[in-house]
Symmetry: C2
Subunit: 269 residues, 2 copies
């Protein structure tokens, strides 16, 4: 088992000219991580090894189990694919979102609106209104994310999540085979560094923006979320009610703005 | 709430020339689907509405709950985002894989090898050895998948999964915001049509191939799995022990072969 982000395997490659070659190829490592609270297994996620304690921390923040640094007593890794989180005395463990969803019952089972309401019970909308990003800074983020990425160029099989300040300076960049894991790792690191809430920061993800990505950003208090690819309908609805600015298809010089455009200075320089 | 795969939202778009326009944009719909067995909620998945009963069916096949058509008594949709599966009398519901994983304990928590072993307890490796796909047929699959896709060109935010026979004829193509859902929908349809096992068929996914995709393919008895993007290390390990042929980066005229190359006729025509 490897603890690095890449594995090397000998494969057969058919090249563009039709010739075959047999040589090593770099692959993104995927391994399960078991997240425990004390002795109880909370979740198992398939992830790329590395920054596992940050991942576990970010996951608990997204699940609204962990809110303040003083609620976390200890993080430990007794094995390669286990993180044990010990919470401070008195911190209650709520059910995870899948289970929370399961308790809702209405004529639609659970609809998008109900999903949003569940999250909003745990996380209020972004409060601050002062954050603003300039056009040039925004357009510069994708290349800055790429500069910080270690793996993508090699394997083509990894997602990245970066947290930047409003001047475009990278605070944290993390990679993972799962987009949600990359975001959890970045948010977990920021939490451990006591940087939350990140209302004066931007989260950029290398792929698409789903409901879950917006939810995680809100849990960290992030007011601006940008994605290189498409958002979903529910991500847009969520951003609008959560007072989050959502930018999609950020492929300089173009992008789309889906919500709370007031945080982007669209004036041409 | 929409039951189609696309939603339309007015957005601000910054065009390549720097001009701004305000107009509708097509987005992929993301809504939760609650899958129940009888009255019990088994799972909630974020999916693109459409083919929900196929999705629920495919999910239960992947979870090794449903194996034979006669084990399924009834599928019903009492609301837009609920599917109720009634199993035939006597069919046992096992715990889902997350919970199964949770019961394993070793020095690594659960490692990749243990994950593979858990799946193999439920699904034996592919038995047949006769399936073989020709080079020209293989190289033709991505364009055939694209031809069958309805949405991608519009939204850029959806995954596709297609099941093809060994002559490259499409049997089923399904789309979803989640790659695993697209595969579940395709497999669920094939099951309902009593086409399983699909050992003389190819599964092509539009994105990457993770462990989970290979697992679902094995549950349906699919012997050849191809992906337009990268596989993970665990997907490759899984394919090797499951006697599955795994093809990655299928971007004609090139591709990579990761396992069981004997099912691809590499001779140049």
């Amino acid at each position: 088992m490897k603890q690095t982000g890449m594995g090397s395997e000998k494969i057969i490659r058919r090249k563009r000219d039709g010739e075959l070659e047999y040589q090593p190829d770099d692959l993104t490592v995927e391994e399960p991580l078991e997240i425990r609270i004390g002795r109880k297994v909370l979740a198992t996620t398939m992830r790329t090894p590395g920054h596992d304690q940050e991942l576990a921390t970010g996951f608990l923040i997204s699940e609204a189990i962990l809110r303040q640094p003083n609620e976390l007593a200890k993080l430990s890794s007794p094995g390669e694919n286990i993180v044990i989180v010990d919470l401070a005395a008195g911190v209650k463990v709520k059910l995870n979102s899948a289970r929370r969803f399961g308790t809702i019952s209405s004529s639609c089972g659970i609809c998008g609106k109900a999903s949003i309401d569940v999250i909003r019970q745990n996380f209020p909308p972004i409060q601050s209104t002062g954050s603003r990003i300039g056009l040039t800074t925004l357009l510069g983020l994708p290349i800055r994310l790429r500069e910080q990425q270690m793996e993508f160029a090699h394997t083509g099989g990894i997602h990245a999540a970066g947290i930047f300040d409003l001047r475009g300076r990278p605070l944290i960049v993390r990679e993972d085979i799962g987009r949600h894991n990359a975001v959890d790792k970045a948010i977990g690191r920021a939490f451990l560094d006591r940087r939350l809430p990140l209302d004066r920061h931007v989260l950029l993800v290398s792929g698409r923006a789903s409901f879950e990505i917006l939810q995680k950003a809100l849990a960290a208090g992030i007011s601006i979320v940008a994605a290189v690819s498409a958002p979903s309908t529910l991500a847009v609805s969520f951003a609008r009610v959560s007072n989050q600015t959502l930018i999609g298809f950020l492929r300089p010089p173009s992008f789309n703005l889906y919500s709370h455009i007031e945080r982007v200075d669209l004036s041409r320089s």
